[in-house]
């Protein structure tokens, strides 16, 4: 179970995993924005395939979804988008289950996963698919060698944690706080206890929800995370550039710069952990 590309991306212990909605605000600009993230130091990129009812997202990503859908994004366009990208890091598709379930002539998730494998995606994050309903997608991922990332929330404990960890591969997405996606001004105090609960499980732990600055990234990785996931703080840059009518190259530069800040923060955090790692 699993995909070697994602395993490799987390080997350094300070992986930077940015998110952008594919096609936000349009196909061509979005290709440039995603490529800028790799230049800035992304180790894995989560690409959002927009769904019309994104119930786990806050306003920033909801608005990105609307822009992308209005720009004509569909599952087939999304696969073209992935093929159009010139990046070497693994790509993970983040979307809602209905789009996966409905794709292709055959009922169920298999056609979507087969196509995802064909265009070179490495895995999936599906926010509205809990472990209880995930077996059909897990089986298809196993068949085509893709990872299935699950989210662990601050409320997830006990049997649920075991159930998720039985099915997860690639990395586990540690939700830093309750609520929906969105950049925050400080690091959630819930992160440390979430990482503690997960310490016995042998899978990379990437923390997301609310991370905005290099300083946040540093503190979270220093606190034991193997990676950080950042969405809204990057989508904000795309949104602002779009609203101001900025040049695509200028927006891409700002994304690259922000990515570098976050990646360097994660590396600083990991350096603080190194002596501890040497002792053990």
């Amino acid at each position: 179970m699993g995909n070697p590309a994602l395993d490799a991306a987390f080997e350094g212990g300070a992986a930077f995993v940015p998110y952008l909605a594919a096609g936000d605000p349009d196909f061509d600009s979005s290709v440039e924005y995603v490529e800028a993230l790799e230049r800035g130091g992304a180790d894995v990129i989560e690409l959002g395939l927009p769904f019309s009812e994104p119930i786990a997202e806050g306003p920033t990503i909801q608005n990105a979804v609307v822009r992308s859908l209005e720009g004509g994004m569909t599952p087939d366009r999304f696969f073209e988008f992935v093929e159009a990208l010139d990046v070497d890091v693994p790509l993970v598709c983040m979307t809602y289950y209905n789009l996966i379930y409905r794709y292709g002539a055959e009922e169920g998730p298999r056609p979507f996963v087969e196509k995802a494998a064909e265009v070179g995606l490495s895995g999936f994050v599906v926010p509205d698919l809990p472990a209880e309903e995930a077996d059909p997608l897990r089986e298809a991922c196993d068949e085509f060698g893709l990872d299935l990332v699950f989210i662990v929330a601050p409320t997830t404990t006990g049997d649920r944690l075991d159930r998720i960890m039985d099915r997860v591969s690639g990395y586990v997405y540690v939700q830093a706080r309750l609520g929906v996606t969105g950049a925050q001004d400080d690091v959630s105090g819930q992160t440390a206890s979430s990482l503690d609960r997960l310490s016995e499980y042998d899978v990379p732990k990437a923390v997301g929800f609310g991370i905005k600055t290099g300083d946040h990234a540093e503190r979270i990785v220093a606190g034991g995370a193997d990676g950080i996931i950042v969405g809204s703080a990057l989508v904000d840059i795309v949104a602002e550039g779009h609203e101001n009518g900025d040049d695509v190259g200028a927006v891409a530069s700002r994304l690259e710069e922000k990515a570098r800040e976050l990646k360097q923060g994660a590396e600083r955090g990991f350096a603080q952990r190194a002596p501890e790692a040497e002792r053990t």
Binding site: I55, A56, L99, Y103, D128, E133, A153, R160, L178, G179
Partner: protein, 415 residues
């Protein structure tokens, strides 16, 4: 009870498709549903029944509709849920869930509403049981249903406008789920219909099944038998499942779920718009708002904007149990268009002195068109009263040529 599920599945439908942060709350709710609702722990159901009677005004009557019977040449009976406190069947579920939230030790209620009837019922139940309550409502629906917005506020609830998308029920449900995901530790989400993740579809059906439990006994008393057909309008499907639940095992009773055919059954895939809300009649299988069910969606699986003259039916999905019963052939899914529903609204008002909710009017429109196929005795669930819809009715009637309607110019220009 028509079917009690413990895994949350009705055939292929149902399940639990929600963000992980909500799953522990859903497990906790499922546990509370098993103990309090199904096993009557701590006398929960006794208290629920008592409050339904004393606060809600149950039982509601089943009335013989003399003039409709004469018109259609069959015996028509009306289950008068419009006489329940608040003016709609919604109180059965809202009271049940707010009481359950209290038993669970929750401190705060959130709810979504389309036409405002569920929001109103939840606000009333929350005031009655002393729970703080916030209601999410699409901005477009707020404009269509001002009396209900005012009623919610009078009962002390906050009404939060939802501006994303088209500003109707679908967006309000998504927004309420976001609130719940943020405040899940102390908050209960009172879902307004037999939709959402398990246990909501089964639990809401159980709270609403008091409708068919009473109607079944009342029909036996009045007619010495059971009706040949039961008609109920279907949006999400809570009054439908409530009216059908106790008749599901009575194979001689035909069950008709009447959907909103809107202005047309065709869809505009390009624009992502369905000019109807008939997900049982025209939808396809998919996953939305926590459950696998029948949905109005395009070929890619994006959810369509639905339409109905009645905001209470204006939803792109339907309860999973109802979808299952339709697939099984136990329930017949039918639909009528906006014009027929509006005409039926006026007809019932004039013939029986009952002003129905626009939702309910859909069931009467089907009766008008198909009375001769339904048998000798027909029971129609009057899911709610129409006071909330008067502004919409005046506006929509004046756009059409409805010969039995009063002169609408008189409403606009004084009498």
């Amino acid at each position: 009870m028509s079917e009690t599920t413990f895994d949350g599945k009705f055939g292929d439908y149902g399940g639990q498709y929600v963000p992980e942060a909500l799953m522990p709350a859903i497990e906790e709710l499922n546990d509370a549903y098993q103990r309090y609702v199904l096993e009557n722990e701590d006398g929960f159901m006794d208290e629920f029944r008592r409050r339904l009677r004393d606060f809600g005004g149950r039982p509601t009557p089943t009335q013989h509709a003399e003039r409709l019977s004469e018109r259609y040449g069959c015996e028509v009976y009306l289950k008068r849920e419009d006489l329940l406190h608040g003016g709609a069947h919604k109180l059965n579920n809202a009271l049940g869930q707010v009481l359950l939230a209290k038993y669970m030790g929750k401190e705060r209620i959130v709810a979504e509403t389309g036409a405002g009837q569920h929001g109103t019922a939840t606000a009333m139940a929350a005031a009655h049981l002393d729970m703080p309550c916030e209601v999410y409502m699409g901005e477009r629906d707020i404009n269509r249903q001002r009396p209900n917005v005012f009623r919610m506020r009078l009962n002390g609830s906050e009404v939060n406008p939802v501006t994303v998308g088209r500003g109707t029920l679908k967006e309000a449900i998504s927004e309420t789920m976001r609130d719940w995901a943020t405040n899940v530790e102390n908050t209960h989400y009172v879902i307004g219909s037999v939709v959402g993740p398990h246990p909501f579809p089964a639990m809401v059906r159980d709270f609403q099944s008091v409708i068919s439990e009473e109607a079944r006994a009342q029909m036996r008393e009045k007619t010495d038998g059971l009706p040949d057909a039961v008609l109920a309008c279907a949006g999400g499907g809570s009054n439908t499942m409530g009216a059908f639940a106790e008749f599901v095992d009575d194979e001689g009773v035909g069950l008709y779920a009447v959907e909103a055919g809107g202005s047309s059954l065709d869809v505009d895939e390009e624009a992502g718009v369905a000019p109807n809300s008939a997900s049982l009649s025209t939808g396809s299988e998919g996953v939305l708002h926590g459950a696998r069910t029948k949905l109005l969606q395009d070929g890619d699986g994006q959810i369509m904007e639905s339409h109905s003259v009645s905001s209470g039916l204006d939803y792109a999905g339907v309860g999973p149990e109802l979808a299952h019963l339709v697939d099984e052939g136990r329930v017949t899914a039918v639909n009528v268009d906006d014009d027929a529903a509006l005409t039926a609204f006026h007809r019932l008002s004039q013939l029986e002195g009952v002003i129905p909710a626009l939702e309910t009017a859909h069931a009467f429109a089907y009766l008008e068109e198909h009375a001769d196929e339904l048998g000798e005795t027909v029971l129609v669930n009057v899911s709610g009263r129409g006071d909330k819809d008067l502004e919409s009715v005046i506006e929509e009637t004046s756009k059409r040529d409805i010969d039995i309607a009063p002169d609408m110019d008189a409403f606009a220009g004084g009498f």
